[in-house]
């Protein structure tokens, strides 16, 4: 027998090198993908962070009884409709008394957002005893003022092309010196629906619309998907028909989502006459899209349940249905949930099919039910990205952050739920 060395062998060094090389390939690949992720997060974050603050103007408002409550009834319904615009104008006129020309006055009034009047109405509705008092109120500034405060002015730009005229800028500078122009936390971004005025636009309407659509989608696609998978996997006779069905389901999973949008438009709106632009129809369309994913994942999960468990139950005299629902489905449930989460995450980010069924509508109100018109987060992002106002840029980025956070929260909840189910062995 020839003597063999334990420390040196032909090709050993090359093998080690290959191993090291491969490890580096992996590390490089992961670094690159993490780098892209970081770039995305940083660019969206830096762009969108501005949307979480909003410039406000402090004005000393005299709640003149003659204007807001001429009859002196202190009726909240009347107060919430009162002419608060006049109060703002009066306050601005007092502050800048030298402004006399009507066109200049319009420019002055334009500094405060039209939302300012709504804020005063809301304040009056909540506290009718404000009537007759004089108080300092922080009112939302217009989007141009907001951008001016956040970004400053571009000195290279021809003054004639600027959104703010020189006199507006000088007023703002004087307000700034008085400390009457400040950036505050933007609560209305979290509590408002969409608006044509960027400073009043919020994502809550879209968020609720997305949540309601997903709820409908889950309520329909999860039971149907799981039951279809159970039937196909556990009950259906394996034959030509079941093979055709399987191939078709696999193909459906690859169909572009806009096609499902067209299908939904035709069936749910044109034939069934369900109300368009609603989370109900949106959820139904998303359910159509999610079903194949759920069925495929659920079948894989069922297939992964060891046959010995089925035999054990059958051997004890359990019927097919008892075996399936007492043992097989509970064991497959974590896998089924994973598939459902993947499907729902896809559905959450889906825009195209929702455009087809009219969820692209401009909706100001926050939907309170699945039969009200609504939009959804990705569609809202699409709408804002399409708007010309500069202030929508940061809102678009912020809405993307909200969408991603929603996704993270949803996945986290699902992972926790799955872990809880798995802990039952």
């Amino acid at each position: 027998m020839t003597e063999r060395s334990l420390t040196d062998m032909a090709g050993l060094a090359a093998r080690h090198r290959a191993e090291k090389r491969f490890r580096w390939y992996g590390i490089i690949a992961i670094t690159i993908s993490l780098g892209f992720l970081a770039v995305m997060v940083v660019s969206i974050g830096s762009r969108g962070i501005g949307a979480f603050s909003q410039t406000r103007i402090a004005l000393s408002i005299h709640f003149d009884e003659a204007i807001v409550d001429p009859l002196g009834k202190r009726n909240t319904a009347e107060l919430s409709r009162s002419n608060t615009n006049a109060l703002i104008r009066a306050s601005l006129n007092e502050l800048f008394g030298q402004v006399q020309l009507p066109s200049e006055r319009r420019a002055l009034y334009a500094l405060v957002s039209i939302g300012g009047a709504y804020e005063l109405q809301a304040a009056l509705e909540k506290r009718p005893n404000l009537v007759g008092q004089t108080k300092t109120m922080w009112l939302t500034a217009s989007d141009d003022v907001d951008i001016f405060v956040k970004k400053g002015i571009n000195p290279a730009l021809d003054p004639a092309l600027r959104r703010l005229k020189p006199n507006q800028i000088s007023w703002l500078e004087s307000l700034q010196q008085q400390g009457q122009l400040q950036r505050k936390f933007n609560t209305s971004f979290f509590t408002n629906g969409d608006s044509r005025e960027p400073e009043m636009a919020g994502f809550l309407g879209a968020l609720v619309g997305s949540a309601l659509s997903l709820l409908v989608c889950f309520a329909i696609s999860f039971p149907i998907g799981v039951l279809s998978a159970v039937y196909l996997q556990e009950y259906a006779k394996k034959g030509r028909l079941s093979r055709i069905i399987e191939v078709n389901i696999n193909n459906l999973a690859a169909v572009p989502s806009i096609v499902f949008g067209l299908l939904g438009l035709f069936i749910f709106i044109n034939i069934l006459h369900l109300p368009r632009s609603t989370p109900l129809v949106g959820g139904l369309v998303l359910a159509l899209m999610t079903l194949p994913t759920i069925i495929i994942a659920s079948r894989a999960a069922l297939r992964a349940v060891p046959p010995s468990i089925r035999e054990a139950a059958i051997g004890l005299g359990a019927s097919k249905t008892q075996t399936t629902f007492h043992h097989v489905v509970p064991l497959a449930m974590p896998g089924m949930l994973t598939g459902t989460i993947i499907g729902m995450a896809q559905a959450l980010g889906e825009t195209a099919p929702l455009l087809m069924i009219g969820m692209v509508a401009f909706v100001v109100d926050i939907p309170t039910g699945i039969l009200e018109t609504a939009t959804s987060l990705p569609v809202q992002i699409f709408l804002w990205a399409d708007s010309p106002e500069r202030a929508f840029v940061e809102r678009t980025a912020a809405a993307i952050m909200v969408l991603l956070s929603f996704l993270v929260v949803m996945n986290l909840a699902a992972v926790l739920l799955r872990r809880r189910l798995e802990r039952r062995w």
């Binding site: 010995s308 089925r310 051997g315 005299g317 359990a318 008892q322």
Partner: protein
């Protein structure tokens, strides 16, 4: 051969198999087998791999029903009824003829729930107390109670292999079957766990009739009263274990038990 009606008759047949053929697609797995299963005896089915002994065992409680390509002809009688008769409910049949598998396969549930599952689906217990009693008695009969009495809520899958197999036996016993089919119950176990189960089977024989498929001729010789030797799908020889192992009539049996084939 008719089933003897007299209770005093010791050689009472609990099951009779007559001219059974089993096909898996085009594979003729069991060929014209006729076999008697005696009451309160252990019947061992032996033979080389692929000889059809497990297939025949699975015919005895219609486990093959779920395999679509499997076709069975002939007659299998339990308690005088043809178990393949249209009127026979397979669920009721399997409650009378229990089964223990080659690989221990406890449900991924607690020890208690594993044993209680059968009584629950067959509604054998009227209340929690009765169910507790069934679980305890079954575990005792399977010789497992002393080992798990203080951890009935623990997962059954956390037990050792031999304990898991005894849990599966307890689970089968809990349904109060008359016949217990065992498909190589010790092949995944070490010799000590095997010895425990063999001892257990000897006790169980008083209450149940047992059919066991085994690869181990020594095991068949140790525990069974009757032995049937299968070869290539045919039942070559059956009879009292002592006779089969000492005076085999057929040359193939002789070769197998002396270790020349198989």
């Amino acid at each position: 051969m008719k089933k003897p009606k007299k209770k005093s008759d010791v050689v009472e047949n609990v099951m009779t198999v007559r001219n059974v053929d089993v096909f898996y697609g085009s594979n003729h797995a069991v060929k014209d087998v006729s076999l008697d299963i005696r009451k309160n005896q252990i019947t061992a089915l032996i033979g080389p791999s692929g000889c059809g002994k497990s297939t025949l065992l699975r015919c005895l409680n219609r486990m093959n029903d779920n395999i679509e390509i499997c076709k069975i002809t002939g007659e299998v009688k339990y308690d005088g009824q043809d178990i393949y008769d249209k009127n026979v409910d397979v669920v009721a049949l399997r409650a009378r003829i229990g089964m223990v598998f080659q690989k221990p396969n406890p449900f991924p549930k607690s020890i208690y729930d594993n044993v209680a599952y059968g009584p629950r689906i067959h509604r054998l217990a009227e209340n929690k107390q009765q169910l507790d009693d069934i679980v305890e008695n079954s575990l005792k009969k399977a010789g497992l109670f002393a080992e798990v009495a203080d951890r009935l809520a623990d997962p059954g899958t956390g037990l050792s292999g031999g304990q898991q197999q005894r849990l599966c036996i307890a689970r089968a016993i809990a349904v109060e079957p008359e016949v217990i089919l065992m498909d190589e119950p010790c092949s995944a176990l070490d010799p000590i766990a095997t010895a425990v189960i063999e001892e257990l089977m000897e006790d169980m024989r008083l209450n149940y009739s047992i059919v066991i498929v085994t690869h181990s001729m020594q095991q068949a010789a140790r525990i069974s009263q009757r032995t049937a030797f299968f070869h290539m799908g045919e039942l070559v020889e059956q009879g009292a274990t002592s006779k089969i192992f000492t005076l085999p009539k057929d040359e193939r049996t002789k070769s197998y038990i002396t270790g020349r084939i198989g």
